[in-house]
């Protein structure tokens, strides 16, 4: 058996254990589950039908299965990067708005407090005069 198939089998077992642990802890969301199931299917196809990767690579115009694997990995990583970039931007915007609101509200509240203190002081001074 080729070493890559042994690695694939170990990886499949690790992924399945990971999925079970997450299901048990109720931490797995549907999108994540679908993603890992697709990975497992792809790895099983490669392991059980070794020619499958080569034929798929040839179908897409790659010379070897390895080239196809690398190109596909770069594409998947790029999609992940895009997704993470979007999420970070949204979070950064929300965080900025939060800081801005806190800063403005703090200033307005402190201004009102100062104004009240001045009014109270003036009121006390007036009472003293009377």
């Amino acid at each position: 058996m080729h070493p890559i198939y042994i690695i694939s089998i170990i990886f499949i077992i690790a992924v399945i254990i990971n999925i079970f642990i997450k299901i048990k802890d109720k931490k797995l969301i549907l999108n994540e589950l679908i993603f890992w199931i697709l990975i497992i299917i792809a790895l099983i196809l490669i392991s059980v039908f070794p020619d499958f990767a080569v034929k798929t690579a040839h179908f897409f115009g790659f010379k070897s299965g390895f080239d196809f694997f690398i190109a596909l990995s770069i594409l998947v990583i790029f999609l992940f990067l895009f997704n993470i970039y979007k999420k970070i931007r949204i979070l950064e915007e929300k965080f900025t708005r939060l800081i801005e609101n806190i800063a403005i509200n703090n200033f307005i509240n402190s201004s009102i407090k100062n104004e009240n203190e001045i009014n109270l002081k003036n009121h006390k001074d007036e009472n003293k005069d009377i």
Partner: protein
């Protein structure tokens, strides 16, 4: 009829304790009453110094960047029903005497935004390396957004209320200047470039945008341009 009490000066400040008193004195001596200082999470005593002046001091609990500080200042000024907002640097580079020229096109309904430009009339003694960076940045702005402004990263700008309500600043860092140019182009906001003086000192050069920072700004704008 335009009321001068509706003009608000917005000063984003981060660790500017040494020069901000001079900036505030210059503005107050020139008759500007509505001054908003946004202390962007300074770790020095900027806030303590600003408290000695009759200005509105808004403090970010953490350092967010000049773009976020400008956005906070604009939003607060809009709450106060400002008609014109002037963004003004805290490092002593800008002069209060330039403000009347800057706001005049807005008062006369010739523009909704005026952008200070240090290269018109060449009144500023701009260091060569700074000139190269700014001109390269301006060229990139032209390629990306189609607006040819030779000084897109000048912090001195006047923004009318109508323009402030249209512009949506999302960037926290220095790239907010490029974002304003982008918003002007996308939302077809009327703008005019006005000659201003930018004073260069060892302090302002040390505090200002660095060469590596300009690469960072370009990369961030490029990412935003691609990913939205």
């Amino acid at each position: 009829m335009f009321k001068s009490d509706k003009i608000y000066i917005i000063i984003p400040a981060y660790n500017e304790a040494s020069l901000i008193p001079l900036v505030l004195k210059d503005l107050i001596n020139n008759g500007y009453k509505n001054i908003i200082v946004v202390d962007d999470g300074s770790t020095d005593n900027t806030s303590d110094i600003v408290k000695n002046f009759n200005v509105d001091l808004i403090r970010h609990p953490v350092n967010m960047g000049p773009g976020a500080a400008i956005k906070t200042g604009i939003d607060y000024a809009l709450l106060k029903n400002a008609q014109i907002m002037i963004t003004f640097d805290a490092d002593g580079q800008h002069l209060a005497k330039d403000i009347p020229n800057l706001i005049s096109p807005i008062i006369n309904n010739q523009a909704e935004i005026t952008l200070g430009n240090r290269f018109i009339n060449n009144m500023s003694n701009v260091p060569v390396f700074k000139k190269i960076i700014l001109k390269t940045g301006a060229f990139l702005m032209f390629l990306m957004y189609g607006i040819l402004s030779s000084d897109s990263h000048n912090g001195l700008k006047a923004i009318s209320k109508s323009a402030a309500l249209k512009i949506n600043i999302k960037s926290n860092g220095w790239e907010y200047c490029s974002e304003i140019i982008e918003e002007i182009m996308l939302k077809k906001i009327k703008y005019i470039e006005v000659p201003v003086t930018v004073k260069y000192s060892d302090y302002s050069i040390k505090k200002g945008q660095k060469i590596y920072n300009s690469f960072y700004i370009v990369s961030k704008m490029f990412l935003k341009w691609i990913f939205g």
